[in-house]
């Protein structure tokens, strides 16, 4: 069992740290609800996310249990949005009953781990409709 599991139940001092090893520094109860969610890094006007495992009741910037991926929402010079995911650990955590947050579900859907998230379809058809509308307007003019 991990060294960070809290075995005797008592309140521990909260240590906040922005940067942590991928193995994580967060302490957690073995049977508490976990979640896979995005942890916002980066700075002003430059978002960057880490995909992390955390206790579900914890706030966004609490110490995490484990980092299992990254997500860079800003397209790079080749117009690519880069995502890295550790499937092995994701399998383990979902198999251990971890919840997954909506943005991460979208990423997992596009990456092919899960089926495509319905919201992704909705966004797509709305964007398509908007494009068609724009085109027809352009033709009319």
């Amino acid at each position: 069992m991990s060294r960070n599991v809290i075995e005797n139940v008592k309140m521990l001092p909260r240590i906040r740290n922005a940067l942590f090893p991928a193995s994580g520094t967060g302490q957690y109860y073995p049977r508490s609800a976990k979640t896979i969610r995005l942890f916002k890094q980066g700075c002003t006007n430059r978002p960057f996310y880490q995909v992390v495992v955390m206790e579900r009741r914890k706030a966004q910037y609490e110490p995490v249990i484990e980092q299992i991926g990254t997500y860079d929402p800003m397209p790079n010079s080749n117009n690519e949005i880069l995502v890295s995911l550790n499937y092995e650990r994701i399998r383990h955590w979902i198999g251990s009953g971890a919840h997954v947050s909506r943005p991460v579900l979208e990423i997992l859907g596009i990456s092919g781990f899960y089926p495509i998230y319905p919201k992704t379809y909705m966004k797509a058809w709305r964007m398509r409709a908007a494009d068609e509308k724009k085109e027809t307007e352009a033709v009319k003019e």
């Binding site: 399998r91 198999g95 089926p115 998230y117």
Partner: protein, 209 residues
């Protein structure tokens, strides 16, 4: 009341002048929760977004499918983890652990013996080296002491030579006589080099007395 607060939480354009001296940064632009609804919003009913019927049906269908598929994947993964956990538990019985420990222990003993052989020869070499070093140091020390002794003897010889002119119990009377016969007058001037500027009187030697 709210207007007073509003000044604190909204950007006052008048305060942004040319040199930005009066620029006020606004961090919390939202209305604080404890304030009442703004007078201009009291009778505003927000428009409710309604999905078109076909879109709604499609949305429900997608969600139903999604939930079914995800649930099945989740169940599969949960099973996978459980099986792995079982395998892990099966692998490690106390007897296995003991056997593994014995295997490691024997291996460690072998390594220790191999390393001990190397260590013995190395320590012997080191001891030999140290012995030589100590002997060399002793030799050096002996030489150094001889040199010191030589210097000391020279100094003693010198002192013995000088000691002949010392005033002793026997020669004190004669010394007094010489001193009385040669009164020294310090009432003279000296130049910048510390030399006497007037002519130096010749001292009467004890032989002339």
């Amino acid at each position: 009341m709210f207007r007073n607060y509003q000044k604190l939480y909204t950007i006052n354009n008048l305060s942004i002048n040319q040199n930005l001296a009066g620029l006020q940064s606004v961090r919390w632009r939202r209305k604080p929760r404890w304030l009442p609804t703004a007078p201009s919003k009291v009778f505003k009913v927000p428009e409710r977004h309604v999905l078109p019927y076909d879109e709604k049906i499609e949305w429900q269908r997608l969600n139903n499918n999604y939930r079914t598929q995800v649930n099945s994947i989740r169940r599969y993964l949960i099973k996978e983890v459980e099986e792995r956990q079982k395998m892990f538990e099966l692998q490690e019985t106390p007897a296995d652990e003991e056997a593994e420990f014995q295997r490691c222990f024997v291996m460690n003993q072998e390594w220790n013996q191999e390393i001990a052989k190397g260590r013995i020869s190395r320590v012997e070499g080191e001891n030999e080296k140290r012995r030589e070093e100590i002997l060399l140091n002793l030799e050096k020390r002996k030489q150094r002491e001889e040199v010191i002794l030589h210097h000391v003897e020279e100094r003693v010889k010198l002192e013995k030579d000088v000691a002949e002119t010392f005033i002793t119990r026997e020669t004190v009377d004669r010394a007094i006589e010489i001193a009385l016969a040669n009164p020294v007058d310090f009432n003279y001037s000296i130049d910048t080099n510390g030399k006497r500027s007037d002519i130096v009187e010749e001292q009467k030697s004890p032989e002339n007395l």
